[in-house]
Symmetry: D2
């Protein structure tokens, strides 16, 4: 499955990119395929791999802050893999030309 998630800490000021950096460090070290974009991080893996990774990120942030809001969106399709790239490619094929990505 692929999942997109974002973690927003509350009560730490307007800028939260240093917390996102901590999260991405953990994601990067997990070895799972991922992609960071402006609104979240996309990761691909089995349920337990992905959810275990998000829990690890949450645990790391909850050591430093009082409250976090986490958004997770999962696209789970049987027997599908390599979808971080493949889903965008499939749209481009339907459209007949490349898009901004």
């Amino acid at each position: 499955m692929i999942a997109q998630f974002s973690i927003v800490p509350l009560g730490v000021g307007v800028s939260v990119s240093s917390y996102v950096a901590k999260v991405i460090k953990i994601v990067d070290e997990s070895g799972l395929p991922y992609k960071l974009h402006a609104m979240g991080t996309i990761v691909e893996g089995q349920w337990d791999e992905v959810m275990g990774l998000i829990k690890k990120c949450r645990d790391a942030l909850m050591q430093e802050v009082e409250r976090i809001v986490i958004d997770i969106k999962i696209d789970d399709r049987k027997a599908a893999k390599g979808r971080i790239e493949a889903k965008v490619r499939s749209v481009e094929e339907k459209l007949g030309r490349p898009v901004k990505k």
Copy 2:
């Protein structure tokens, strides 16, 4: 923590309430505090309890359908409990009167 989640199966037609019913049956049997509303289900518990429950719902649906989209939104606040009701009550107190709920 409290979490809101919804699971939408794709490729099974326009109406998905029979799938939501299967999910709610599992949630209800879990014993965790929950509340169903028109856009999802809110549940309260520890990370592993809540995520274990959502995984169980996902496993049940993936036995029947090819693809699902899951949305999860978590509000995780240290030492806070009973928040499915308390968060709404806190807004009413700030407002000084009851709201539709």
Copy 3:
């Protein structure tokens, strides 16, 4: 259509219920059917009514804070009305018994 939304202000501390109270006041005065729950507000109306309302809430908060994160989830189904209650009822009918709501 029905829409669920939540607005989280950043940089104003851990507790945000006073801001939610401002939002709910605007929603309540709009006259649109709504329901507040622990993770957001559900409202029903035409696209322009609902989106105009959310814009009004956003404008009110952006006068006070530097940054907000808004989540909107829309369920748009042709010719369907009264769905804040009807969607839950439909699940209960499929299940054959009432749920916590």
Copy 4:
């Protein structure tokens, strides 16, 4: 502000990439800065520009399908522009090295 959105049509089968292609065509023709990724489309602009665009995409799909689910996530920060790229860059600066993007 920047906004991420995704539109999922129900009742049209398991694969929805041809509908995403229609949406991206409309986004691309809008002239607004955008980026397609595996879980949605990010676009930057003023509230009315972005919401007008999403409405246009919704109208196009509702001519063909009976029901759609739309997710919108907005990050609205005063005086901030060029954030589709800048937010990722800011994380990389905090981290001290490039990430997968």
